[in-house]
């Protein structure tokens, strides 16, 4: 694994700073040629994700300040990002941050049924979805009936 990969992989997600872009599966590939040029491939979580431009700027800056002279960033759409690419470690970090992590993606392309999402605060399964769309496109909004706290749930995609 190249050192450029290491630098880029450690960058935090701008909206979920507890996880890195590698944890989330946004970082697809980093290649270095023998002249020291770095080519980075990232994929958006959602087509309209406004964090992509910030991520791109962050990683160019990180690589330039690490001494790389030429960096280019490519957005790749295919294969489409899925929450299944998120590492187990990332899911634990999200949970500790107060965001219920996504479950596995169901097959058949239908919207995953929000069966039971565990409250990240008190661990209760007695929760209800209050909105399918939360503070960002990738999250839905839930309320716990046991501790009465609202929380975000990272939707399976």
């Amino acid at each position: 694994m190249s050192s450029a990969w290491k630098i880029v992989a450690d960058l935090p997600d701008p909206e979920l700073p507890v996880v890195t872009i590698a944890d989330l599966g946004i970082l697809r590939d980093v290649t270095e040629d023998d002249q020291g040029r770095v080519h980075v491939q990232i994929t958006p979580t959602y087509s309209g994700c406004p964090a992509m431009e910030t991520i791109s700027e962050d990683l160019v800056e990180a690589l330039l300040s690490a001494g790389y002279q030429h960096v280019d960033v490519e957005f790749v759409l295919s294969p489409a990002w899925t929450t299944d690419w998120m590492t187990e470690d990332a899911k634990q970090k999200l949970l500790a941050y107060g965001i219920a992590p996504p479950g596995a993606v169901g097959h058949g392309g239908a919207v995953a049924l929000p069966l039971s999402v565990r409250c990240p605060q008190c661990g209760s399964l007695d929760t209800r979805e209050s909105s399918r769309f939360g503070s960002t496109a990738c999250k839905s909004l839930w309320v716990c009936r046991s501790c009465h706290e609202p929380f975000d749930h990272f939707k399976a995609l």
Binding site: G48, L77, A137
Partner: protein, 245 residues
């Protein structure tokens, strides 16, 4: 004689404009939706559509070969150069109408993107493979509201039926032949109906028996209301050329 990349470019531009104009109409609801959660939902749905539109516009510009960027295409074209269908462009201020429209539009986009996801064009397949998962949430959202309002009170039932009647004439335009089409629009008709009709039935509503609207958006013919939408959407970019955040 138009070249294959010109006709493909026109087709892609039509799909891009559908998503772009719909996104702009969704944005109108921010601060006006019946509840805060709905503000968030409609904003997020619009954002997904805008994301799809951006990639499609960039691709349309590339196919055209005159160096026009996504911004040039979104902000510097006049009404007659837009290729979106009438379904998405008309002004709306009734929540039921917006949900009826989203049901029709998301049902169509679901089938369209599902078909495009396996087409031989890698860019279209890439956009579609991503978008099809997002649109599943849009369709689900619209379907839940249509059922809740349709199978709600007498008042909400009546208004949801009126909203569906108002939007239904615009469905037909989505299935008319388009030059350069990668997926035959007519082939989507039965698939889209199969998605919509069960929702309408569950909502205790009737499938409207209404004549199709004239349409013509794919040829650049639009209703008056698109002009007002574009004036608002484009005014900043045109007043301050090159402005950035």
């Amino acid at each position: 004689m138009s070249t294959p990349s010109k006709t493909l470019g026109d087709y892609v531009l039509g799909l891009a404009d559908d998503a772009l104009v719909s996104a702009q109409r969704m944005g109108w609801w921010i601060s006006r939706a019946p509840q805060l959660e709905e503000d968030l939902a409609l904003a997020n749905i619009g954002l997904d559509q805008l994301g799809q539109a951006r990639t499609l516009l960039s691709y349309a510009g590339q196919l055209e070969g005159d160096g026009r960027t996504e911004d040039d295409l979104a902000y510097l074209r006049d009404e007659r150069e837009f290729r979106n269908v009438w379904l998405v462009e008309r002004a709306q201020s009734d929540f039921g109408v917006t949900m009826a429209r989203l049901l029709l539009f998301a049902a169509w986009q679901s089938e369209l993107y599902a078909a495009l996801a396996s087409c031989p064009d890698p860019t279209l397949a890439g956009v579609a493979g991503k978008a099809v998962k997002e649109v599943a949430y849009h369709l689900d959202h619209a379907a839940r509201w249509v059922v809740r309002l349709g199978d709600g009170t007498e008042e909400s039932h009546q208004r949801m039926q009126a909203a569906l009647d108002a939007e239904w004439p615009y469905l037909d335009e989505l299935f008319r032949p388009v030059e350069g089409a990668v997926v035959d629009p007519a082939s989507l008709h039965p698939l889209v109906l199969a998605r919509i009709e069960p929702v309408v039935a569950e909502a205790t509503l009737e499938v409207p028996q209404v004549a199709p609207a004239r349409g013509g958006g794919r040829a650049g013919l639009h209703t008056e209301e698109l002009g007002y939408l574009l004036a608002e959407m484009q005014h900043l970019h045109r007043s301050h050329p090159g402005a950035t955040w």
